[in-house]
Amino acid sequence: MKTTSFVFLASGAFAAMLGAQQAHYLPAEVEAGGRVYTSTCTGCHGPDGDGVAGINFSQGKYRRAASDDDLVRIIVRGIPGTPMAPTGMSEGQAATVVGYLRSMTAAAGASAAGGDAVRGKSLVESKGQCLTCHTIGATGGHAGPALSDIGLQRRSVDLMQSLVTPGGEVRPENRAVRVVMKDGKTIAGRFLNQDTFTIQLIDSTDKLLSIDKSSIRESSLLTTSAMPSYRDTLSAQELEDAVAYLSSLKGRPQ
């Protein structure tokens, strides 16, 4: 009896401590953490956080961590004897990743699970006309980002949002550029890189171009997406099918 009440008290104290240690993260921190998560963590954990057995970030399921401090420590130092290697991040940077992990749990309710990937494949390739601007494998256009491993990059909830409100979030790597040359010619395309003297892009004819800025009259970076919304062109079921297919794209041959 005494033992039981002790355990009860201890776990209660632990829960209180846990509450105290779960910080509130600002949207800017979550966004910064998300960028780090995508570049560093998705390879093993996947965009939905369910890539490692026994762990599911979207469901708040962890094997060895409870508090935010535990997570920061694991991200920085890794777990010896497991594939979880030290990341070399500062604790501050790791804390933003924890902010993102917590946000994944909060957003998980919205994930689409009822889609049919086979039907989705045909929608993406025909009715949706997605390959006009995106490549999957060796097929498709280059105005938008390649989708061959989009299932490793983005959560299904993000993919659904991109289909319904594509202008909502254009990542820096997906920005478009419009250049007017001194001779009046206009070049539009996907913005790849720039430095002080040159700008790199892939134009609408899929040509990789590096343009000397001294030959440019004006240029602008577009932060809005040229992608149409599929809210009205695809039914709710079709959207879920498309998301199911896109989520299945993990860089393997189709």
């Binding site: 800017a28 921190e29 500062s90 804390a95 002080t196």
Partner: protein, 546 residues
């Protein structure tokens, strides 16, 4: 070539090598301007103008600069060192702590000295080193694990290696700056502002390695300024040093910039101005006694380290000759101080700022914004309007050249933080519009309003901007100016370039294939002017096409 001719050439080379045997007396360091063929201190002289009297390369012929030689370091860590050149021999440091002596004409290696620092060393921002100092026949290097090492300049052999007192690597102390030699002493200060150290500057006897004096950047009980720290907060007060200071021989004062208070982003437990963090201190070079101080950012919560190089010059200010100090601060303001007294003469923003409504008549910031748990958007961002990148002053143009981060901002968030020895003691990392450390490929898709880099030229008499050369990406490059009215600098996007010192127009550029994160310098060997810069993981040396 006939054998006899070859022998004669060989003899000439040997003779020039023998001439290069003179030792580097302190008098030579003070008169470095009289031997512009050499580059004898980190900033090219104890006044730290990073200005050279060499004039072989001019605005008219600079387009004929070409790569003379390249030395690729073994280390893939950040290369921030400015080399020294002494009578045809170049000395630089490959990160973290390997010293290399090279033939300045060809880049061939004479010797290397390899030092393996303790694995307990911990640095906030990379295992870097910014260069060495020389006195007599001895090279001095501070190490990231708190040692000062003296090497024989001819052989690279160890003369002595001391653990500087109290600089325990496992608690965050260490050295990344090039030391400064004054008279018979080697002066060096410790890093550790992100680990709650109590910073110090130490003067070490160049011959014996014994400590001659020490200045604690956070005053202890009984010391003046101690009351600017609440409770015991001074014990982990920070105040690191990581960039080389300056020396005025007429005043016998040495000037040093001091970094952030600990913890960086939450000042709640260190109520007060937190002297001498975010200040410049003027110290008696013989005793280390404090003559005056000027604090740029009292009670800082934005990580605006004031570690910049103090640039000394004698100019006419408001109609009378003044001994001034020019200072482009990480907090986004450019200052001109009287260096005899520390009197504030001028202070104006050189980038977008919103953390203060402005400076009062004594140079103190007014209406400073608080950091809040909800987040506070602050210009300039955490990396500042500038940082440790060496500025330059040209006595010919009278202009002060500042490597600048334009229009950057950060959201600062106040979070509780407790001190644990050896662990980071900072508070929440601010969210930055421009990344602070840029590893990996140089891909830049930033919008202009998310920040860009520039080299800016200001008139220190008025604070007026004369010109700016804008870059698509940030810059961690120092600036070199020359008596032929050239300005050399580079940037993160992998160019090294020459500008007209009067107008800022681009005269020459070279693609260097990596970020320039060091100060350029110039020297002459064999009657030929060379310009050197570290970029990426290589040291590149340029001279005029024959």
């Amino acid at each position: 070539m006939k054998p006899q001719r070859a022998l004669a050439v060989l003899a000439a080379v040997v003779v020039s090598g023998a001439v290069a045997g003179a030792q580097v007396t302190f008098d030579r360091l003070l008169r470095s301007a009289s031997e512009p063929d050499n580059w004898l201190t980190y900033s090219g002289g104890t006044m730290s103008q990073r200005y050279s009297l060499l004039t072989q390369v001019t605005p008219a012929n600079v387009r004929n600069l070409e790569l003379k030689w390249i030395y690729q370091v073994q280390s893939l860590e950040k290369f921030e060192a400015t080399p020294l050149v002494v009578d045809g021999v170049m000395y630089t440091v490959s990160a973290p702590n390997d010293v290399i002596a090279l033939d300045a004409a060809s880049g061939r290696v004479f010797w290397t000295y390899s030092y393996t620092p303790s694995t307990l060393a911990r640095l906030c921002c990379g295992r870097v080193n910014r260069g060495v100092a020389i006195a007599g026949h001895t090279i001095f290097m501070g190490t990231i694990d708190g040692h000062l090492i003296a090497l024989d300049a001819k052989s690279g052999g160890l003369v002595w290696n001391i653990a500087v007192g109290g600089a325990r690597a496992e608690t965050g102390y260490g050295f990344t700056m090039a030391p400064l030699v004054i008279k018979d002493k080697v002066i060096i200060g410790s890093v550790g502002g992100e680990f709650g150290v109590r910073g110090f500057l130490a003067a070490i006897d160049a011959k014996t390695g014994k400590e001659a004096w020490r200045f604690n950047t956070v005053p202890g009980p009984g010391d003046k300024g101690h009351d600017t720290w609440a409770g015991d907060s001074w014990k982990q007060g920070g105040g690191p040093l990581w960039v080389t200071g300056s020396y005025d021989p007429d005043l016998n004062l040495t000037y040093w910039g001091i970094g952030n208070p600990g913890p960086d982003w939450n000042g709640d437990k260190r109520a007060g101005d937190n002297l001498y963090t975010e200040s410049v201190v003027a110290l008696d070079a013989d005793t280390g006694a404090l003559k005056w101080h000027f604090q740029f950012t009292p009670h800082d919560e934005f990580d605006y380290d004031s570690v910049q190089v103090p640039v000394l010059a004698d100019i006419t200010f408001a109609g009378r000759p003044r001994k001034v100090m020019m200072w482009a601060n990480r907090n986004g303001f450019m200052y001109v101080l009287d260096r005899t007294s520390g009197e504030f003469l001028l202070g104006k923003p050189f980038v977008k700022t919103n953390w203060t409504s402005g400076l009062d008549a004594k140079g103190r910031p007014m209406n400073v914004k608080p950091v809040t748990p909800e987040g506070t958007l602050i210009y300039p961002g955490n990396q500042g309007g500038t940082n440790w990148y060496s500025p330059s002053f040209s006595p010919r143009t009278g202009l002060f050249y500042i490597p600048s981060w334009m229009d950057t901002y950060s959201t600062y968030i106040k979070r509780p933080v407790d001190y644990v020895e050896g662990q980071r003691f900072t508070g929440a990392l601010p969210v930055m519009s421009a990344r602070m450390l840029q590893p990996g490929p140089l891909v830049n898709r930033r919008l202009p309003e998310e920040g860009y880099g520039a080299i800016q030229a200001f008139d220190p008499k008025t604070g007026e901007r004369k010109w700016a050369f804008n870059m698509a990406d940030m810059t961690e490059s120092g600036v070199l100016s020359t008596a032929s009215d050239l300005v050399f600098a580079g940037g993160r996007d992998g160019y090294f370039f020459a500008l007209d010192a009067k107008t800022g127009s681009l005269l020459w550029k070279a693609s260097v294939g990596g970020a320039v994160s060091a100060g350029p310098m110039t020297y002459a060997v064999g009657g030929k002017q060379h310009v050197a810069v570290s970029a990426g993981n290589a040291l590149l040396v340029y001279s005029l096409r024959p």
